[in-house]
């Protein structure tokens, strides 16, 4: 390994201590201390859980560069920031981590998105890394658990640093997951193992035509395509076509996902 002695010692200590924190604050302090040795001053882990198009996103752990955060919020940069958008696109299995500068080089960004990177640089966030973590796919319920870690600071792009930060992100995610699961289990609240319906964000069904919406509604009450066809007095192929069009318009990957979204929509409205 070409890490410096200080870096290796910090990493080695973290690997031993990572199971000790009993709450997220302790974990954040431990990470800040270790990653400070590598020059990382800003870290955020976002977890997304649910069916692909309905995933609810929550921050899990991290420590922020306060000055940058204040500036970021004041300018509403969260609406345009290219990083979270690119990170969520990494959900495809097999995606690799990417460096902030690589994103700027290889992807077409708007002027505002470039401006955000330039300003981050002046706040000391000179380079950063986004690490995708594909945690779980539940085949039965089409549910995915995905997380990504974004960290930056006065660091330089290198293969070894990428590997080290990926390992730290992975073990920190495990630790945070254990802490949160334990916390919610004790408090009898619901967290990741909840029925997926309650996690789904509300979806706007207005782009659908009346017939498409009617087919989905019928699908909630009837089990098979035949039954839906009979109830609406149309052919099964027509039912399939309406469902396919609706899925494409709303970006769902399965009928099940779309129906869950409709149930959620009804519940909210």
């Amino acid at each position: 390994m070409s890490l410096t002695m200080a870096e290796f010692n910090a990493l080695n200590s973290l690997m031993k201590a990572i199971r000790k924190p009993t709450n997220i604050d302790q974990l954040n302090r431990l990470l800040k201390e270790t990653l400070g040795v590598f020059g990382v001053t800003h870290l955020l882990c976002i977890s997304a859980f649910g069916m692909p198009a309905l995933q609810d996103r929550k921050p899990m752990f991290g420590f922020r560069l306060t000055d940058w955060l204040v500036h970021y919020r004041k300018n509403y940069y969260h609406q345009d920031d290219a990083l979270p958008q690119a990170a969520m696109k990494l959900k495809k299995n097999g995606s690799q981590p990417f460096w902030w500068t690589s994103l700027m080089e290889h992807q077409h960004l708007s002027d505002l998105q470039y401006k955000i990177f330039r300003e981050a640089y002046t706040f000391g966030l000179k380079e950063g890394l986004v690490i995708p973590l594909h945690v779980r796919i539940d085949f039965d319920n089409c549910v995915e658990e995905y997380a990504f870690v974004s960290m930056g600071g006065d660091i330089k792009k290198s293969e070894e640093l990428e590997n080290t930060l990926t390992l730290i992100a992975t073990v920190a995610h495990k630790a945070a997951r254990t802490i949160l699961m334990d916390m919610y289990r004790k408090s009898n609240k619901k967290f990741i193992d909840d029925p997926f319906v309650s996690f789904a964000p509300n979806v706007d069904f207005s782009p659908l035509g009346n017939r498409e919406l009617e087919v989905i509604r019928q699908f909630v009450d009837n089990e098979t395509l035949d039954e839906v066809g009979r109830a609406m007095n149309i052919k099964v192929t027509t039912v399939k076509t309406h469902l396919k069009n609706a899925r494409e318009k709303l970006g769902f990957s399965s009928n099940k996902e779309m129906i869950v979204a409709l149930l959620r929509h009804r519940e909210l409205s």
Binding site: M1, N12, R136, T166
Partner: protein, 298 residues
Amino acid sequence: MIHIINRFNQHLYADILDQMFQLRHKIFVEKKGWKALEQESEFDIDQFDTDDAVYFLKLDKNDQILGGMRLVPTMRPTQLGTIFKEWCHFEPAPKAADVWEWSRYFIADNKHRSKAGYPVFYELFFAILEYAVAKKIVALTGFLEAITLPRLNALPWNVEYLGNIVTYGGIHGEVAGKGAAVKVNVDKRMLKITKRMKKMTAPYFALPLGYESPAPHRAYQPEVCFDFLDFMEQHSEHIDVLIGMANVFCDQREGSHEAVREAASEWLQDELFAESMRDFTGRLSAAHLQQTGSLTKQ
């Protein structure tokens, strides 16, 4: 169902093992581009494919391999103890009788689903965990691809990293990859919770009784039966094999009962086998004795 192939039953799986070595060459060398493993014979056999290795293979009805994995005892040379030694940055890979190393994990058919709808890797992993618990193995070590590491976070597994993530390959036309040396602690509780999480109930061994015996649908083949009888004549100490095979015969074909009875009566006349046979009769259940009739009385 997963077949477990080891030194005691590998002669019954000779054709399957050949198929596995060829398949491994195809997957690791031709598909993944691990040029270091390339061999003229087009068989991927390395220094860890010894008699001590245990292979876990998922076979379909026609004995085609759908996926597999290898376990090697850490008291013998292992990958993490030799060729990947420098990748254990934090601590050396443990060497103990109850710690085994897994390697050469491959899936030949990604689309296959079991009757319960599970992909091949589910059954492979559960078979290995069941095997580890049954054989009182407390930890499994191995070099895992980086892409699989976050997946372990969703499982109730106690994973220890032996080294940092490393980049391998990428030179002389080899494909670059990333991975890390890990140690996974195994116990009954971990197996139970993992099974509950994945809604899995069945055991995944293909073995009727005693892990040394071959899986039923291979054992029914006449040539395998004869091979087996020859083997037992030379290795009477493997009583578990005998029990496992007797169960397979007795549960299945009427014609096979006669073959076992004849073999058993011959062995009984031999003083060398007398001790083994007493043990054998003692370990068969009363219900089974009733079912198999005069098998043990002769």
